[in-house]
């Protein structure tokens, strides 16, 4: 409990501290009001947005409001009457732009597919049969958890729900089987975050839409790093379980002793149908047979069919999935509306140019730029949802990539792993709070944090590997796009 209070205090101190620093910065560096240029206003805008986000107001509306207010000022300075300000046209065209961007149509469909899979109890069956099939492996429950998460990630693009669902589903059985609290919570939190990277990730669709990179290529690029990372997790758990079997005791013999036939039957009814669905959806995207939108629609239909076959489809379940889909989609897309309105004004003011000229003046090497941009993304990933970072902050870096000769595809893959890492990094890690919300009371936040650290280090290792050997991500797209 004390640990929690400490965190509270820290969050508040850090938050107000940053807001104070921004204000101080303005007092020190802004010229007197008569000499303020539009580009200066752009910088004020950027500072105000960071401060208001920290105050906890819904970010989409902060963006829309700031875009409008600063737009008024910018156009007002050149003498345009308020009600005829071009900012109105800008705003409505940006909004309509979000409504008609065809790449994003895949977002609600993948979210819908994910909720159907989540609500249909497919995951439950999946975990139980994987657990039985792997009972001979050291750390069987933790390995099965990560494998289930990876498969679920491949069937959906949402993450908060996965940590919650897996926490509810597997934490109790693991603790009952005598598993170490830290190892169990770490495996759940780390596995639950795999959805950011593993296709069909919604994050990669949004990145593709803002960066103008083909979503198909992003999916291809993310496939191998995603599998690599899952294997690293599994390997780590097995090694820990072999070195210290007390952390992950074997299941009792009577539970392990399931006839081979029984296991095959369970796998055939749980893992194979979902694996087939995933292969069909991803396969058709990667081989160019269908667009992500089409594959997502077919995937949603397939998931509904699968749920119906399991006798788990009911009107109530469908309703829940539909309503949750609409709320998640609205959350993401209104954020896009806000961001597009904001960035339109930001660019009009010349803020983006000023920022870029600063970065170029710093005379960074490509490696240095990559390091600093990813560091900023990592730090932002502590307090902010990944949607916010991808939609608002990553676009600031994107126009600078060509100057440093960095492939936006590569940058996207690195950002995806980076955001996963930030999600697992104390003290702000969102995954920990999701898990704490459903864990038994004796599992403390500190336990979860300690449990996540090794997985976070594995993520860092994966990032370094990707930077040293870009082929891990870039090889597959290059094969298909020759």
């Amino acid at each position: 409990m004390q640990f929690r209070n400490l965190l509270k205090l820290e969050a508040r101190t850090i938050g107000f501290g940053i807001i104070g620093l921004i204000l101080l910065g303005y007092l020190l560096f802004l010229p007197p009001p008569s000499q303020i240029t539009n580009a200066h206003l752009g910088m004020v805008m950027l500072g105000v947005i960071i401060a208001s986000i920290l105050l906890g107001f819904p970010i989409a509306f902060t963006l829309i409001g700031l875009g409008i207010l600063f737009g008024f000022v910018a156009f007002g300075r050149s003498g345009v009457p308020l009600l005829e300000s071009p900012i109105f046209d800008n705003m409505v065209l940006r909004t309509y732009g979000v409504m008609t961007t065809d790449v994003i149509i895949a977002v609600p469909l993948f979210i819908f597919m994910g909720y159907i899979v989540e609500r249909s109890g497919i995951i439950d069956r999946l975990f139980r049969s994987l657990e039985l099939a792997m009972s001979a492996v050291p750390g069987a429950l933790a390995v099965a958890t990560i494998a289930t998460c990876a498969m679920f990630a491949a069937a959906t693009g949402i993450i908060g729900a996965v940590v919650t669902l897996m926490g509810l589903l597997v934490l109790q059985p693991m603790l009952k089987a005598g598993y170490d609290v830290r190892l169990s919570t770490g495996a759940i939190a780390a596995g639950g975050c795999l959805g950011i990277l593993i296709p069909p990730s919604v994050m990669l669709i949004l990145y593709g839409a803002t960066a103008g990179v083909s979503v198909v290529q992003l999916y291809m690029g993310a496939l191998i790093p995603g599998i690599m990372l899952s294997c690293m997790y599994v390997g780590y758990v097995i090694v820990r379980a072999i070195i210290n079997p007390k952390l992950a005791p074997r299941l009792p013999v009577e539970e392990r002793n399931v006839p081979f036939k029984e296991i095959v039957k369970m796998l055939a009814t749980s893992v194979f149908p979902l694996a087939f669905l995933i292969a069909a959806v991803l396969g058709s995207i990667l081989f160019g047979v269908a667009t992500p939108t089409e594959a997502a629609a077919v995937g949603a239909l397939g998931a509904a069919l699968l749920a119906a076959c399991y006798g788990r489809m009911s009107l109530t379940r469908l309703k829940e999935s539909v309503f949750l889909t609409s709320r998640t989609t609205a959350m993401v897309c209104w954020l896009l509306v806000g961001s597009w309105v904001f960035s339109s004004t930001f660019a009009t003011l010349g803020g983006q140019n000023l920022l870029e000229s600063w970065v170029y003046a710093a005379d960074l090497s490509p490696g240095g730029f990559l390091f600093f941009s990813q560091l900023i993304i990592f730090l932002l990933g502590w307090p902010l949802d990944w949607t916010v970072i991808i939609i608002i902050f990553v676009p600031i870096f994107l126009p600078m990539l060509p100057a440093f000769g960095i492939d936006p595809l590569f940058f996207g893959l690195l950002t995806a792993i980076n955001l996963q890492t930030a999600f697992l990094s104390p003290p702000m890690a969102m995954a920990a709070y999701y898990l704490k919300g459903v864990a038994p009371p004796h599992v403390t936040l500190a336990d979860i944090f300690y449990g996540m650290v090794p997985f976070m280090l594995l993520q860092l290792a994966a990032m370094i590997l990707l930077v040293l050997f870009p082929a891990i991500g870039m090889w597959l797209p290059s094969v298909f796009y020759q």
Partner: protein, 194 residues
């Protein structure tokens, strides 16, 4: 007072939930389109137009509904450590400063935008299917108006909270309900006993 607030919640929820079903239509139409293309080699023209129209309506009309469930993403690491009264003060100021001007501008600009389109009975220019898109553009001012209405309810909630020190009740608390639903899904599972 609270009666009116809950009424606004209900209006937002009703419109959001009604238009939420467009995702099912969207799934079916895109699915149909793919089938037509691969099996009958006859892709429809209107399928593409209808897809983005349904997607656009889905998220626009769910904006107010999502706000009524406090579902728009906020960075709450600091916010959640504050007392309700302080939270309400922050929210109140920012609703007046950002939300009202921003969304009012959206409604104002949206009416004009939809009006022009409506007058010329605009059809899609993306494909040659002739699908009318003027009703689609109407979604901007309508969604903006609903958001504005829900925004007023939220502002009233802030004022109540500043006076009484605690947040007034919402239609229902989704987060908890959601976890309960997930628990139910798990405990329902027939495989569990096996």
């Amino acid at each position: 007072m609270n009666h009116y607030l809950l009424l606004i919640d209900r209006i937002s929820a009703w419109t959001g939930k009604t238009f939420a079903w467009t995702v099912v239509l969207l799934t079916l139409i895109v699915g149909y389109d793919v089938t037509m293309r691969y099996i009958f080699n006859a892709q429809t023209q209107w399928g593409f137009d209808l897809a983005y129209i349904l997607y656009g309506i889905l998220f626009m009309m769910a904006g107010a509904y999502t706000l009524s469930r406090n579902g728009h993403v906020r960075a709450d690491m600091m916010y959640r450590t504050l007392r309700p009264k302080t939270q309400a003060w922050f929210d109140l100021v920012l609703y007046l400063l950002f939300f009202l001007p921003g969304i009012s501008a959206l409604v104002y600009a949206g009416i004009d935008f939809a009006h022009v389109s409506w007058q010329m009975r605009e059809v899609s220019s993306v494909t040659s299917s002739g699908v009318p898109i003027y009703p689609f553009k109407l979604a901007i001012p309508v969604a903006g108006f609903l958001l504005l209405l829900q925004g007023f309810a939220e502002i009233a909630r802030c004022i109540v909270c500043i006076r009484t020190g605690e947040w007034p009740r919402r239609l229902h608390d989704v987060e908890e309900e959601d976890i309960d639903q997930l628990k139910k899904i798990i405990s329902d599972d027939p495989v569990k006993g096996a």
